[in-house]
Symmetry: D3
Subunit: 160 residues, 6 copies
């Protein structure tokens, strides 16, 4: 595998659909936040693995925003892609929208940013093939990922 | 909404990914067949709803074939699309492959054909907008769906 | 164990009961089809194992028919038995009815036919002890299983 | 419905089979006790409902004994029947054995006694149709149920 | 580890909280008994392990009493502690109450007594460090545990 | 209820224990991140409800850090408390450690910060009773919560 880079689209997930079942609801009758976190955690991990062809370990999740409640029967559409890679880590952005299959109306449900590190068989971090943003949207996310990382490091420094 | 027809691609799912967890295994250490049926049943129902914008009821499933066992850590890639519509019913074809995220090798796991009927608020069957196959592959599936339906009806007649 | 044969009743399940929980419902408030498939898949596999005393692998499922919706609180009664054996494969028929525990009214929910192959420790198919139908009903299913197999093989030939 | 009585066999479950999945294990690799309690609780409730055709509420569970550990791939065979009825309550006895589908060896896994009360639509206890033990075994359990009830009442008195 | 004893408080759980989800309900819309048994079984086992630092095996559960139904949105508060130890076995008492987070009203849901035995790596029972009751309440439970054991043994003798 | 304030300890959870089951593992044999997120999401929501006696809605989750992998049989100990309240929102901090019940060794597993808003019956945000930090540790967290909020707001501004 060449280390020149791999386009975002090669590992991105753009149309993962999940219908909200009674099973997925919290006691107030809306989609349980813990359930949607479980869904996007699995999804982000698959994108990370697809990008680098290795076992990836979640280091953290940042800026999870619950934007609207989803309801029974809504169809969740989940999107996830590698926003940026650094030496041994990468940011995977996740977005969930809910679609009413009758009216086709959509509303934003969740957005979140996962940080993964790729590891070898001894659980040591290994270098990651760089991601190559191609579209305008991908380049925007690539640049924002760097800002988020700066914020993250600044915040961690300020606490210790 | 015009009744002229809707292309296959408008409702098709082409990259639904699910990682095989320890949770998904049968006592022999391979992906539990009942689990994969649960996954594809949800998926086929979403495709049916997306195509006709209505509640859809599963009438039957035919020719489910388990082609290879999947294992812990495999990434399942599921595809589903409307193959053909008749007056109030439609056939949704489903295919599952497993991808090794390291070697990128793929193997076929399952194929199946679901028959749905669209219903109105009184649970009465309603007319479905015709599906329009566009690619060569879609046209092939469109024609095969008719043969499967003929077999199905012949078989049902022969039993009663 | 003699290879002369084993009666249907020795491995059949005739009264497997499951109450429909809120947990088992789809977004429309009826029993989720994927859930009932999971139940009958487990059950058919147990019947197959009981018949031949070996690990059995599901090859396929045919003619799954959803006959009526089941509701919260219904008691599902599941039946499964070996209909016919061939050299290394066997057909297991499954039927699910729902019983209202107050009125004792029953309605048919699902019927399906599973094909299993018995395997040895190296996952090689092995000969299966023949099943011996005894009642009129069992003999009818034995004969119909042969017809279904003929249809299945004809259908597979017609597609390739 | 006559109040003369209903035989034990009319509501008894004698062959409820469940295969032990990886999903059902505790961290030590044996069947999780909480999982088997969940299974038998559902089963006992169905037997109670079948006997009296009403919603039944669990008052208590006594003398649960875990007799042997079950393992992955074991086939659990569960039995449950009404042992005795009193005015508005009844005892349902449950037994679970594990069967090795290869050797057909069996071992006892669990026994337990459930007490249910039947209720009407206002959740008030209602009279239960008496159970009629017919076999020697059923008569033995009928008599033992009375002793267990005496113990239970004696114990409750001694604590308050 | 000294064999002098370990206070009850060292292993007790006094505030394990669980919200009742739609997922946890039986078909009648109240907390499923099998679900609450699963919760307390896990909890009692953790208390037993914490007390003796070893794998513990459940021998039995006695005097499970369902005192009131819990409903969707109730917050269950679970308590568990070692009541008494004998040579190789111990009794763990469990209590569950439900709290309405608005009114702060509480009602009793369940009480139960678990008997565990500690085992070594060969699954042989091993001596357990004695539990030391300190508060008045703990001493009361310590004494009652002995009475329950006497009842238990008397009952078992009377049946065989 | 007086609006003067409520101490942190009144709603805090300090010893929520959960044993890691085979069921909770990812394909690599360690605790699935999505599962632990589900656990802490439930827990944080209970603390929020307990603090303000109202339905609380999750707005976001920040700075989730996976500090070490947990393994099968580890006992997770979860802690959660209200760090700071603002007018209609509050921050709940969550920490998970894993304890080996044999060696009593502990390792940090996860830390995260949840932001909730309390709502009335019309889902409108309502004023929250202020939290009163009492211990040195609680005061430290109270102050840090303000810094985190500043970071959060700064970051949101920088993106729009």
């Amino acid at each position: 595998m060449s280390m020149e880079g791999k386009p975002v689209a090669a590992s991105a997930i753009i149309d993962q659909v999940i219908e909200v079942f009674p099973n997925d609801l919290n006691p107030h009758g809306t989609l349980f936040g813990g359930r949607v976190m479980q869904i996007v955690d699995s999804l982000a991990a698959i994108v990370a693995k697809r990008h680098c062809g290795r076992v990836c370990v979640t280091l953290g999740i940042d800026s999870v925003r619950f934007l609207n409640p989803a309801r029974r029967g809504d169809i969740l559409v989940c999107m996830a892609s590698v926003n940026k890679t650094w030496c041994t880590s990468m940011e995977v952005g996740v977005k969930v929208i809910a679609e009413d299959f009758r009216s086709l109306e959509q509303k934003d449900i969740l957005s979140a940013y996962f940080t993964f590190v790729a590891v070898d068989d001894d659980h040591k971090p290994v270098e990651i093939i760089p991601v190559l943003p191609e579209t305008e949207e991908q380049i925007k996310r690539f640049n924002e990922a760097e800002k988020r990382r700066t914020f993250r490091l600044a915040q961690e420094t300020s606490h210790h």
